[in-house]
Assembly symmetry: D2
């Protein structure tokens, strides 16, 4: 029944519920001598926290991180790093009327079925709040990747059916939709606001691109790089699909169009196209790694929905509260974090730290 | 660097290359007292092997399975089950001219980058032949699931852009495309033949549906059921994307349309729709589990493609040989097998075997 | 490089150094509905903490535990339980003179060799303080075992060569040596005090006995119950040997004396002797499980010892400070905790929690 | 319920029963470019197989190994290596009279309790024959270690209470007891023959010494090198205790005697004594690694012993057959193999293979 630990050479173990004392994570396997301060982590948490803009939840969580272990004299020591984020703006009373029913689209019923008990305050362990711990861990992984020359960017590739047609990196953090295409941004925000006005919600697609990865990451057979990425990303609550490179579009291509042709540029192997998304045979090929996650619309909506009580009676529920009409912009740092954790894990296996 | 083992309560470890003595698998954690004969495994291998029809590779592999351990008096004993499938129709000479170059779309270059050495005969460990071992293991998992009332069907949901509009289960095994829609079948076969004539290949989408799963399978956080399925299915060579239930389409839906509304039928919790694909919060909810895999077109095509030699010189290559123009029909039992292995693993955690 | 996580169905992940903000643990896989309060954990921590008696370290650590997650309405919920123990009585200055040398018998040099960096304040991660987190986790495991009818006792079987000839359970917690034999206690304490006066230290043997375990715990081949116990117990800093049942004495016995003869008593299988220590073929047989750990004398002694500086120069060092002359009495709850964690892990695999 | 897989960076998965088609192993994570032929493995199997001398079982098993995968052009490729050893000299009929009772000292009853079923032919999966697969895997690990300058020797340190007082390496393979002390050999053989004449059996202690290990092997906290060794060695059927360096004797030493004093010799850190057995704080220190395993006397003896039938009736049994009166000499290569597997696993983590 565990499941709170992920990774092989770099492992993360998260803990915490939305309405308990806090959430946190233990990151084990980080090599020594990497400079790390709370601020490195805080800046990623700030990208995920609610209240960032008019289109996200207005909850006032500050998400201040405390480093509990693994750092000495400002650098990592090679031992387990524990991070704690205390919960602050908890309103358990918001959930009093939801105690005895199963919210549609939520994990209320499945947790009850599995555990015979359920922390009904804000989804408990199934809350999106758990992803704060992942983002904190991802920030550590990103520091480690940066030292090795690997960088990641992430953005909303699509929201409410509106697709970003191009990627202007400087745009991403300048708009509430985390959209890389200035033209698409306005329409995305419009759709989110419209859904909010309708007491409804919308989904979208997050895209993450990693540059600078050496060839050789990932392992044959079951631990192919895309399999590890798929595991990591599909473990984020609202994700319903994952694709690599051309992804589902590859299913509609012919081999002659899909196959990326290799060539050599300045002594380095490259491919003319990147339909493979940087991974061939489960192993990175040195091109950009491209991964996308399909995010369903948030389950908590204030519209009346039919459901059943824990006693089995049919009722109508309106899930009031300070919920996000669209989780995609806040999910960008989460998908980045999961990608960073997998890449760091594979990199440490392929090119481990050596003292001296 | 390992990666040949997968699973938690039910583990599979595969071995073997396309041109070595054989491929095989060790399945550990199978409960005792499950009747198991070679024929149970053989019938699934026969669905995967080449030479089944005019649209698959004409290679003559018989894929005869031998049970090496774990069976006593016709039933499982609770100990590790080893299965061996010897390679028969190997033509290593087919690959002589490919020894010194990297085939486009293949793992030739990435294996060389990772290992500094490569078994160039038929992709070695990266060969699709490794999936025979998975299908053999999946057959064991299916027996175990059947005992607990869980059944799976799989089919080609889409080939070369042609989509099956409906699912007629009795059709599936009656046509070379493994297509569940008689109208779509003809057009799929047509497209495959056309691609073959063009010395090209096509991709598609496999869909697997599991019925009879109890609620409660899968674990919170990183080992969500969809994460385990994603890991398993994305570890199959040609898969470039995985989705659950509404999948990528969910990204374009509103919450009011996506949320599956619960109701109670004959004392059993059900939902009016199944956009969640049978999984909420990472845990099965008792509805049908629906998963789809996007398969890229096979990399081996006889058309001229540009590539580089291992020495870095640009050349043109035509990958001759007995290759499949479309792998989707033969991939159906592989995706089924991976789904079965994950479900059996989760089922054994949630509802383990108890002696007496 | 990880290593801070242990267990299969019940996993523990510890974090923390002796001179950082604190130590703690995440326990994952604990079944729901087990009543758990901070006091349940505190009482075990109090058995481990320094300052308990005249023969232990006088450090004033209070070791107050805070539950950070996994508890709702006073019971476990089935999700990860995080526990935090803040460090209080840290005197890093005690270690200033040890910064540039390798203490004999300590891990100073090996950590430097592995990580190229070392937290020299009080052994850092290698500190015995990390075992507070294990004892906290063990307290949770013991609650879980108690619910299933399994209980453990532990005691100092031997200290400084003085062996307890008999086990009077009521004696154990009534003397500073945690010795179960009133006659031996006095001599053990005498030896400890004598060593202390000599600025030296002594070792001993901890014995743990678990009663009420069902038959069937442990798995064939590599995860035999004794192998899991050995792993767990040998992972405690000062342990240099582990034995089960007759242990090393079995090597001197003949088969006719060693073999435990089975008989049936009130419908339950028992053996006339228990040389096997409750485990046959790696699987518990329903008899008492008996395990012993050899503890070396503490490395920190105030006597002059020869060593080298980090620059390689020979020096003499006296390790002053508030150190234990004998760690055995305080190690008893640690070895109990490791035993409890392994038994709980195996029990949850063999007889898992089922809702309703 | 699995348990047939062991290791982290180098994993082994064994399969097979004493009276099925054969036993075998999959070794995953072996780096590429290591020369490996069947003969490298065969020579270790020949040290373990029965029929080597007058004091071992006269069974005629040839234990011929077949390499099924992972080798190309005479070297490893980095992919999974599968090895198969077919069973030959099976006499299932020897066990007909044991079908309905539980042999004293064997795992008959515990397997029945766990699985509700039991392969009664020659202990099935619990048979010592499974260790042939371990020795085969260990041979591969030894090749890998040899390439890195690590070598192992093992021998009978003690048999039937007779202790080898000195270690003359050249003696070990020249006598049936695998005893390194010519004076002790004669007395050991005498005791074994005496036990055999008495239809009884004797135990002993195997010692393994590894030279050439770099400092830095093993990981903090739960995966300390001694914990991994303990796990590996205690997973061998007849082992009842494990100790490192001074081991249980350390419990009787004072700190001033136990602590190994460091010094520098030719720029290399060494210690004047080696009570730590080459491991401090769970990490190798560059000195010889010394580990000992206590082997109980074999359970199968032809003397009358009291036991019960599967129906619970008291009976007397004489376990006839071709059994070893002392397993220690044949266990030497098994304990060596387990030690080699752990060291290779740790070495690959600390100093992994890097492609040119």
């Amino acid at each position: 029944m565990p499941g709170s630990t992920f990774g092989r050479m770099l492992t993360v173990t998260t803990f915490g519920e939305s309405h308990g004392p806090g959430v946190g994570v233990v990151i084990d396997g980080v090599p020594p001598r990497i400079p790390l301060a709370a601020q490195d982590i805080q800046k990623e948490l700030d990208r995920r926290r609610p209240g960032q803009s008019a289109i996200t939840s207005p909850r006032g969580e500050k998400d201040r991180v405390e480093i509990l272990s693994g750092i000495f004299d400002g650098t990592t020591t090679g031992t387990a790093i524990a991070l704690l984020i205390r919960n602050e703006d908890k309103k358990s009373s918001d959930y009093d009327n939801l105690k005895d029913l199963y919210r549609p689209g939520h994990a209320d019923w499945t947790y009850s079925a599995k555990f015979g008990i359920r922390d009904w305050r804000g989804s408990g362990r199934a809350s999106g709040r758990e992803t704060a711990a992942r983002v904190a861990a991802g920030a550590v992984a990103r520091k480690l990747l940066a030292v090795r020359g690997v960088t990641l960017i992430g953005y909303s590739r699509e929201i409410a059916g509106i697709r970003a047609a191009r990627v202007v990196p400087s745009e991403i953090e300048n708009n509430p939709a985390r959209c890389p295409d200035p033209e698409a941004t306005r329409r995305m925000v419009e759709q989110i606001e419209k859904a909010k006005a309708d007491k409804d919600s919308v989904g979208g697609v997050v895209e993450v691109v990693a540059s600078g990865c050496p060839a050789g990451l990932g392992d044959p057979v079951f631990d192919k790089l895309e399999a590890l990425l798929g595991h990591a990303i599909l473990s984020v609550g609202a994700v319903r699909g994952v694709e690599i490179g051309a992804g589902f579009e590859a299913a509609r291509m012919r081999g002659s169009a899909y196959n990326d042709e290799p060539y050599v540029e300045q002594g380095r192997m490259r491919t003319r196209t990147n339909n493979a998304g940087g991974i061939a045979g489960g192993i990175s090929n040195g091109m950009e790694i491209v991964v996308r996650a399909a995010m369903r619309p948030p389950a908590s909506i204030a519209r009346p929905q039919r459901t059943v009580t824990t006693a089995g009676e049919e009722v109508t529920v309106e899930v009031e509260g300070r919920h996000d009409p669209c989780i995609v912009p806040r999910a960008v740092p989460v998908i980045e974090a999961m990608t960073a954790l997998v890449l760091a894990d594979c990199l440490l296996i392929q090119e481990p730290y050596r003292p001296r």
